[in-house]
């Protein structure tokens, strides 16, 4: 009987294979640091044999998963305020700084050629500008032939820390824009994708689209990205250098669990849309927390290179030292 054989084989397979690896660390959340965490977990596994399984879904999922204690750590690029952390009984610390670029897909417009003023960005994402040759965009792009095609705005389908940081920047330009992980978009043509990956794929597949994604996603797909006007009125090309210049203005206070939104900083050479990404830990789980901090400590010490290669800005040594002290103070190192 063939089906008897199938059943026997199945039972044998499920019994014979030993249960291994119950001791891996599980994390879920932000997709903004997805590529760097992927590199870190892979390098950490190669170096130590220890397993960290991080699923880059979105910050909303990260906050929920850790609040409900479904994982060992959560990732979020929306920092939680100290009061919230107390209520949810969580610790929080930053891991890297990254930046959000405005990537586009317009025939004939190459990487870095498009200049977007603060007014233009506001007009595009609120729907005031409906076509690429709208005056507010064309004004700063005299040399470019922008098509009279409708703009498709690519946004996130999930609750996202990237969206939170991007709307934080939009709010600085236009205070009526609500800062949110998942705002209601008013532009005429909006397409949503799940996680940074989904948005990146949508921009790539849809002609005349623009969207906000983390820089490493642009780097890996080779999508063109715009120069963005910063606080002091300069158009800044997204480069590691301009991110570093921006990251310098971040201040970290361990007493507030490092709560900081660092977008739209000062400085003539700063790229304006930068953000830190954070790890959330459950306060009561001292033992797994120690393993999680050991992983990030390893990454801080040994793997700044992977972060830099992907276009993230590693935290400065002084901040890393603050974080280690924070771990020690809470007895999770």
């Amino acid at each position: 009987m063939t089906f008897k054989k199938i059943v026997t084989a199945a039972v044998a397979a499920s019994l014979a294979l030993p249960a291994v690896n119950a001791d891996e660390l599980k994390g879920r959340g932000a997709s903004f640091p997805g590529p760097v965490y992927k590199a870190w977990t892979s390098d950490y596994f190669k170096a130590t044999g220890k397993k960290v399984n991080y699923t880059p879904t979105g910050s909303g999922d990260g906050i929920k998963s850790i609040t409900k204690r479904m994982v060992d750590f959560g990732g979020s690029d929306k920092p939680l305020k100290p009061g919230k952390l107390d209520k949810k009984k969580l610790y929080q610390f930053p891991t890297v700084v990254g930046s959000i670029v405005l990537a586009y897909n317009i025939d004939g417009v190459k990487d870095g050629e498009l200049k977007l003023s603060r007014a233009a960005i506001d007009a595009i994402f609120t729907g005031k500008a409906k076509f690429w040759d709208d005056a507010v965009i064309a004004k700063d792009n005299a040399g470019l032939k922008l098509p009279h095609e409708p703009i498709t705005v690519c946004v996130r389908a999930d609750k996202s820390g990237t969206t939170f940081n991007f709307t934080y920047f939009l709010n600085k330009i236009d205070p009526t824009f609500k800062v949110s992980k998942k705002p209601t978009w008013t532009a005429a043509k909006v397409v949503a994708g799940k996680s940074n990956s989904g948005v990146t794929a949508n921009i790539k597949q849809i002609k005349n689209a623009i969207g906000y994604i983390e820089y490493s996603y642009k780097l890996k797909t080779g999508l063109p990205a715009a120069q963005v006007e910063n606080k002091e009125g300069h158009f800044i090309t997204p480069t590691v250098k301009s991110f570093q210049d921006a990251a310098k203005y971040a201040t970290w206070t361990p007493e507030k669990h490092f709560y900081a939104v660092i977008g739209d900083p000062d400085g003539a050479t700063s790229y304006p849309i930068v953000a830190a990404t954070f790890i959330l830990l459950p306060r009561e789980k001292t033992e797994t927390n120690k393993e999680v901090t050991a992983f990030f400590d390893w990454a801080y010490k040994n793997d700044d290179k992977a972060a830099a290669d992907l276009g993230y800005v590693p935290l400065p040594e002084s901040t890393k030292e603050q974080i280690r002290k924070y771990w020690e103070a809470h007895k999770i190192k």
Binding site: D61, K64, W185, V191, A192, K194, K207, A209
Partner: protein, 284 residues
């Protein structure tokens, strides 16, 4: 003694599908209570989907995903029904056995391809073509509907073919003997004879289209906007669940269960209709 045990176990197994169905309904209904109490039936007609501050509370309505689910299904059906009927007619009445057999197998294989493959292929190869030819974003209601149609065509064609094959050859032969054309035979003999089965297959395919997740998730645009144009992106119940169920909390999570319940009940009704009304109580 062993006979009784055997019989009882088989009886228990048989009642299992009943319990699973009731279980699904009961669980979804229980978890949806919060949303049902807060929004009642207005939920069906409210376009808003706005989580409150810090993900607590909020206002939720299922109108957009419900409309999106219905519209993408309608588009899929409009495309799929004529093509599937054509294929079934080709297989039963036109092609020689030599041709019909490999074509039949191909169609059945097409039905076996996992839906996620359709979604991926649709996003990377089909959506750009739609944008070029029809306009719009490439990703949207129309693209989702077309790929959904491609997915259900083989399924529908296979069942329709089986129904048409039940037509007794004697009936067809006597019609031909009276000088009827192939189309006459199809229209006046085959169709009336297998009408119940054909309508049933259409409704079954409809049920499948309503609940399809992966093929649509890549293609519908996932955005909470009411479509104004056929190429506009929107969302559907399965896609909203796939994207946002895991991250939802509190009242939003309950609203997700509410949506799942609505989808479950609607597809239950649709499929039951196909089963009881059109296929009849086939005595097997």
């Amino acid at each position: 003694m062993g006979g009784k045990l055997f019989r009882n176990f088989s009886f228990l197994s048989a009642t299992l599908s009943f319990f699973i169905l009731v279980g699904i309904f009961a669980v979804l209904f229980t978890y949806a209570q919060d949303a049902m109490h807060t929004f009642g039936l207005d939920f069906l007609f409210n376009e808003q989907w706005e989580p409150g501050e810090d993900d607590e509370g909020g206002i939720f309505g299922g109108y957009i995903p419900i409309v999106g689910t219905l519209l993408s299904t309608v588009i899929a059906m409009v495309i799929a029904v004529p093509i599937a009927m054509g294929i079934a007619i080709f297989l039963t009445e036109i092609a020689s056995v030599k041709v019909a057999k490999p074509v039949s197998i191909s169609i059945e294989l097409l039905a076996a391809i996992p839906s996620i493959i359709y979604g991926m292929w649709g996003l990377f190869y089909f959506a750009p073509i739609v944008q070029k030819t029809v306009g719009g974003n490439g990703v949207g209601l129309l693209t989702a509907g077309i790929v959904l149609a491609i997915m259900i065509i083989p399924f529908m064609a296979a069942i329709t073919r089986d129904s048409m094959n039940t037509t007794p050859p004697v009936l067809k032969e006597s019609a031909y003997a009276m000088g009827a054309t192939k189309f006459d035979v199809i229209k006046d003999v085959v169709m009336p004879y297998s009408k119940g089965g054909i309508i049933g297959s259409v409704i079954l395919a409809l049920g499948r289209a309503l609940g399809e997740t992966m093929a649509v998730a890549f293609l519908i645009g996932s955005v909470m906007h009411l479509p104004k144009h056929i190429t506009d992106p929107t969302t559907s119940i399965p896609v909203l669940l796939a994207n946002n169920f895991a991250e939802a909390e509190d009242l939003e999570l309950s609203s997700m269960y509410y949506l799942a319940l609505i989808l479950f009940v609607v597809s239950f009704v649709v499929i039951s209709l196909a089963k009881f009304y059109f296929f009849g109580r086939k005595q097997r």
